[in-house]
Amino acid sequence: MSGQTGTDLRASDAALIQKIVQRDESALAALYDRYASLLSSLLNRILRDTQASEEILQDVFFQLWMNAAQFDPARGSLPGWLTVIARNRAISRLRRHTPSAGEELRETTVIVPVNLENAITQQQLLGRVMGALGNLSTEQRAAIELAYFEGLTHSEIASRTGDPLGTVKTRIRTAVESLKRNLLS
């Protein structure tokens, strides 16, 4: 069946996934409208290349369409999963590395502490994330951004910034502790 069935835009992610399994194209369109902006922003921040970002954005949602039956909403958050997959693919593209994409749906379970299904929650979360990042020192924030948006490891960050490896490790660990505390508060 390939019918557009007039998907309720307020439907939960789990309900939309179920409809995608039944080949309802409008359910995928609804999920795209819900999360494409978040993923597009992330991809453009990592790649700084509109065309490459849009290719990955389309590919991530097409993979969701093809493999929706393997995604169990009870085991994790869909936007969390989409974000992890988009980031992994963008960083792989950045580093010219081919990921093992076939395992993504089955193995990457992501639990997000809030429900991201509506735009208001997303806006509130934006404020909380920016606040949590604002509490970091300049060096901590730079290190976190090098790791998250450029996919650098401890030693690569040390090499990039010229700081000792131990300093970088401590800086990132304390930054992560602070983020964890502030994001959950």
Binding site: A36, S40, N44, V84, P113, G127, Y148, T153, H154, I172
Partner: protein, 261 residues
Amino acid sequence: MNGHPTRPEDFDLYALGVLEGEEKAAIESHVPTCAECATRLAEARGRIGLLAFSAPRVEPSPTVRERLMRQIHASVEGAEAQRAQREPERAGGFFGRWWAAVLVPACILLLFVAARLRNENERLSRELAQEQATLQQQQKQLDEALHAQALLESKDTVSVALAQQPGMPKGDVRVMYNSKMGMAMCDGWVEPAPANKSYQLWLVPKDGKPISAGVIDGGPINPWTVKLPQGMAAKAFAVTLEPAGGMPQPTGPMVLVGPVT
């Protein structure tokens, strides 16, 4: 080592992707064997994934959605065609051929009618999908217009005129800002940005680091509203010249600036 990681932050560091060597291998060898740690890693992935919200907002082009919908529609049609191709192979033997001989003319007629009905159904489905997309777009525009109206009508909204800085590209940008609502609207114009560069608008708070309020293309600015942290005491708004797509913090020269009074 194949025991539980000793420090709870190890899961977040793994999700962030900074671990390497033995530290990384220790998590990768332990987690598949431990449900409790698998859950902790899933939670860490979720927390770290929230950093995606700090990326400057970039809306995808509408053509991406169109291409995606065409792609999935084609995949559905391809699957149906394959299924239809396999069906005749299942009919076999004498009775299969006899019944086939009797039913072929009727089936051809039915297929003809069904194909016409299917085409009609698909046409209507496509039109419905387009209508839904249009409706959704209109709803989004309406929401933005209502936000803009509320911003402009509020007594707490201040107007900030951004002045060109010496030797910088020309521009005339105005920001309407409401701290209580946590919202700003920007309009005006600015000279086209140099190749591989973008202008970026920043809220400069009285305390703390600048907050990105969006990336601006050169030329006339289509007025847009942007959500900012509520209750933020702003000192100024500024436009800087950044690498294309914008940066999390300003790195380039200040092109325009205006104090919030």
